[in-house]
Assembly symmetry: C2
């Protein structure tokens, strides 16, 4: 298969996967107290620990203004905490409250058990293979974004 044809097939396949995942995420996340973007912010704070706003924005590939408003809504719902950095009065440290952490764990478990159901008929070694490859593709894509 020529190079461009392979690229096309891959593009197509990833796109389909994205649609399905997006649709599912809307379903599973929004029945809890947060939106998809809000949940993603919670997730990032769980994974990376307390972050500054700009760092959070970078992790999420979002503008700082968009991120500021997403954080605002989490703040109002008391899922995150905002502390001024003592070394830099401009900066804020964002961290999860216990209820934010708890909410994320609930949603996460929902999503993971859903994912587990999805792959229940796919052989483990096939999943492992997919994992490695998907990660490689992500790294390749990320490297290109940076340049």
């Amino acid at each position: 298969m020529p190079r461009l044809a392979r690229a096309e097939e891959l593009y197509e396949a990833v796109n389909q996967l994205i649609r399905v995942h997006q649709f599912r995420d809307r379903d599973y996340i929004c029945c809890h107290d947060v939106s998809v973007a809000q949940c993603y912010a919670l997730e990032t704070l769980v994974k990376r620990g307390p972050l500054r706003l700009q760092a959070l924005a970078d992790e999420m590939y979002l503008d700082k203004s968009t991120t500021s408003r997403v954080v605002d809504s989490l703040l109002r719902k008391q899922y995150v905490l905002k502390l001024h950095d003592p070394d830099d009065q401009r900066a804020i440290q964002l961290s999860l409250t216990p209820s934010g952490e708890a909410l994320y764990q609930t949603i996460h478990q929902d999503l993971i058990s859903e994912e587990a159901s999805m792959i229940k008929d796919v052989p483990p070694e096939v999943v492992d293979g997919a994992l490695t490859l998907i990660r490689q593709l992500t790294i390749a894509a990320r490297n290109r974004l940076g340049s």
Copy 2:
């Protein structure tokens, strides 16, 4: 690795891939005359041929009202055509205009050559492996949505 841990890793990996692709799509599509959703509608009409509104909505996993408005904007820009079904006065047949077709081809080629650059250092057999697996995952996910 236990079953849930594998599911968790996969969920994580797919999520990362999705973020990167979404970010890139925003970049590459929106500098043309259409938004991401509008481009997706064009793509669906290219792939499936003329469709009714509800059928288009089903393909895109969107509500018919959302789809109606996406189509509206494509109509105003004269990228799609709306024809009444002679057999059913309620229904409309949506099809691409030549300029809609042309615009999609331009964007598509941009995206594909970008995808090709991304995977230029990934061995072809690795890409082929990823392809098969990504498709399998999509099918598994889709089947679960239907049920």
